[in-house]
Symmetry: C2
Subunit: 209 residues, 2 copies
DNA sequence: GGCCGCATCCATCGAAAGGTTGAGGTGGCC
DNA sequence: GGCCACCTCAACCTTTCGATGGATGCGGCC
């Protein structure tokens, strides 16, 4: 088995040090570089001979990890990108996969599972953490839970602090219609109040914050 | 200078490895143990001879870092607790200080600053990251706009979708008290409903999520 | 064509949750 | 002592919210 050449992209020095410590314990891994920003990760992935990029999604400023993933994987002969982040919201996961990520893991993954995932990704097979796989299963299993465009539109305004009255004016609807949309939202999200709906919707990344 | 004995409390193995790697580079530091849960951190802080606990606030499940901090620092001869987390919202910061934390740093702190902060904490002096210090300065500069700890606590639960009834049960208060806090929050934030309060509070980074 | 599911839209109504007012107790600070 | 901010609570009132029920139009499917 040949050695896997790695690039670590994370804005936290501590996390980079942790990844390095964990991964360099594996004889078949070699960390060739670290990137503290998404831009730097894109540049290094192009310059160096890298097999797998470990990519965080949240960077303090500048380009995000998702966009960096898309940019890197768009090139021919590009390395695999294994997303390694803290959050498991639907938006993040779907966007990352859409952007061409080969895998998606959470940062609380045990070191040995992480190493396995890196090898899987290096081989070109998709590597998803168990929680992530579960989320994707849930999505395809219950497609009815998806909110309609109009429902999301209303819910977004609720999250911005508007009352039903204000929302109805903004969208040229009657209050009754606004309430109707919200009732459907509650049913789909399994909650029974506007604040709870906003909470779970943001947790799932359904609406903007 | 005597050596500083450290306990690392974080649910992410990778972060623990990173902290260990960074801190063991310092000749005057010794990592005596790691804790993957808040409960374990409390136990180890009591059993072992520890000078400083590096404490995360978010643990996947069970006790939170804030409560663990309070429990640890309540004992006599307790170690100093240095909070090391990702978020710099007012809730987290104030609650941690209230719980007896000696310092508060963000995880993107450079290794050398981290080492300095650990020494400062070990000496019993408070160690705050620059962003944290700035937030606290802003609070004292504009005291009328600042929310009290209790108000933020209530507002945080509102943002998580709880009703006044649920909040009162969670905090062992009457509903009247919860409403009273919220009225003050509305006045300070210049809004007139719970959802609007959540919206502006999150925009200002007063609460999490 | 006829049926069904779904999204969008609307009216009515009762109740509960939320918001207002007022007020007491504590502790810090000048 | 006097002032102020914070935390706590009770009782009242009302507005908003959520529940219920129903209408329309569109698209897919048998």
């Amino acid at each position: 088995m040949s050695t896997v050449r790695l690039l670590l992209a994370d804005d936290h020095p501590i996390v980079r040090a942790g990844l390095r410590a964990v991964l360099e314990g594996e004889p078949d891994f070699e960390v060739v570089a670290e990137a503290p920003t998404a831009e730097r990760a894109v540049a290094l992935a192009g310059e160096l001979d890298v097999d797998v990029v470990l990519m965080d999604l949240q960077f303090g400023s500048g380009m995000g990890g998702t966009q960096a993933t898309a940019t890197i994987t768009a090139r021919s002969g590009a390395p695999r990108v294994l997303v390694l982040t803290t959050y498991d919201t639907d938006v993040d996961i779907l966007a990352a996969i859409e952007a061409g990520a080969t895998g998606y893991l959470l940062k609380d993954t045990p070191p040995d599972e992480l190493a396995d995932a890196v090898r899987t990704a290096a081989a070109g097979r998709s590597a998803l953490g168990p929680e992530i796989a579960q989320r994707l299963m849930d999505r395809v299993r219950r497609p009815t839970e998806a909110l309609s465009l109009r429902e999301i539109e209303v819910l977004q305004l609720v999250a911005e602090g508007l009352s039903n009255q204000q929302i109805s004016e903004r969208l040229f609807l009657s209050q009754a219609t606004v309430k109707s949309h919200l009732v459907h939202v509650y049913a789909k999200l399994g909650v029974d109040s506007r604040t709870a709906a906003v909470a779970t919707a943001t947790a799932r990344g359904l609406i903007r914050r």
